[in-house]
């Protein structure tokens, strides 16, 4: 009879539950541990979905921050030697000043 070896399975990730209080102005504080793990920053946006009575799903919005959009846009441009461009610009400034 063939012997079956059971693979060593890792424990499934435990469900972490945090209890938070709703503030005066309706604000919920995301615990620091979660903010650090998911790199959540001030002004990040979230989508709240009411799943059922008393069950709320909070999902980070995938909408890009303007700064990320800006850098991605710049990096999509063809490469330019900006150090050389700056040197040329200084020359232009000097010419215009003469």
């Amino acid at each position: 009879m063939e012997q079956v070896t059971l693979s060593k399975k890792k424990d499934p990730p435990r469900l972490k539950i945090y209890k938070v209080k709703l503030g005066k102005k309706g604000q919920l504080t995301v615990p620091k541990k979660i903010r650090d793990v998911y790199k959540l920053k001030e002004k990040d946006t979230f989508i709240l979905t009411l799943v059922s009575e008393g069950e709320l799903l909070i999902k980070k919005s995938v909408e890009k921050r303007p700064v990320d959009h800006l850098f991605e846009f710049i990096d999509s441009l063809p490469p330019i030697d900006w150090d050389k461009a700056w040197e040329e610009m200084l020359e232009d400034r000097k010419k215009e000043h003469r």
Binding site: K41, E42, K43, R65, P66, V67, H69, L70, F71, F73, I74, D75, L77, P78, I80, W82, D83, A85, W86, M89, L90, R93, K94, E96, H97
Partner: protein
């Protein structure tokens, strides 16, 4: 901190300079201000055009950068123009350099971000703090 930028800083953002990009991120997080004089905008636009970047993309860049939280374009006022004339005469600066320096002074900036050596005198005489890397 309030930073005023010369065209040099805008080019650093394009050149994927970490320090420049970190500063833009800090502005986005509301920690610092970055003020862009309109004349630096004009100079950068000219350079981008010379490098073959389309008008559409140039517009997209400036729209994007203005959407960042604490980044603001500074339009020249009569006061800035007057200050620029004085600075140009006092420190023998080109009018373009003088406009950038006057914008920084007039808007209460702590530092002017520029690698233009022509600003040496204004730094030496403590008119403005100029920083580059």
């Amino acid at each position: 901190m309030r930073f005023c930028t010369d065209t040099w800083f805008l080019m650093k953002i394009f050149a994927n300079d970490q320090k420049a990009r970190d500063l833009v991120r800090r502005a986005d997080e509301g920690k610092d201000w970055i003020l862009i004089p309109l004349i630096a905008f004009a100079e950068m636009t000219k350079k981008m055009m010379m490098e073959g970047i389309s008008q559409l993309k140039i517009n997209e860049f400036f729209n994007d950068i203005e959407r960042v939280e604490k980044v603001k374009m500074i339009y020249p006022s009569k006061e800035i123009a007057n200050e620029a004339a004085k600075v140009s005469l006092s420190y023998k600066l080109s009018l373009l350099d003088a406009f950038v320096a006057a914008t920084a002074k007039n808007t209460g900036c702590d530092v002017l971000l520029s690698a233009d050596s022509d600003y040496r005198l204004i730094m030496k005489q403590k008119y403005l703090k100029v920083q580059s890397w």
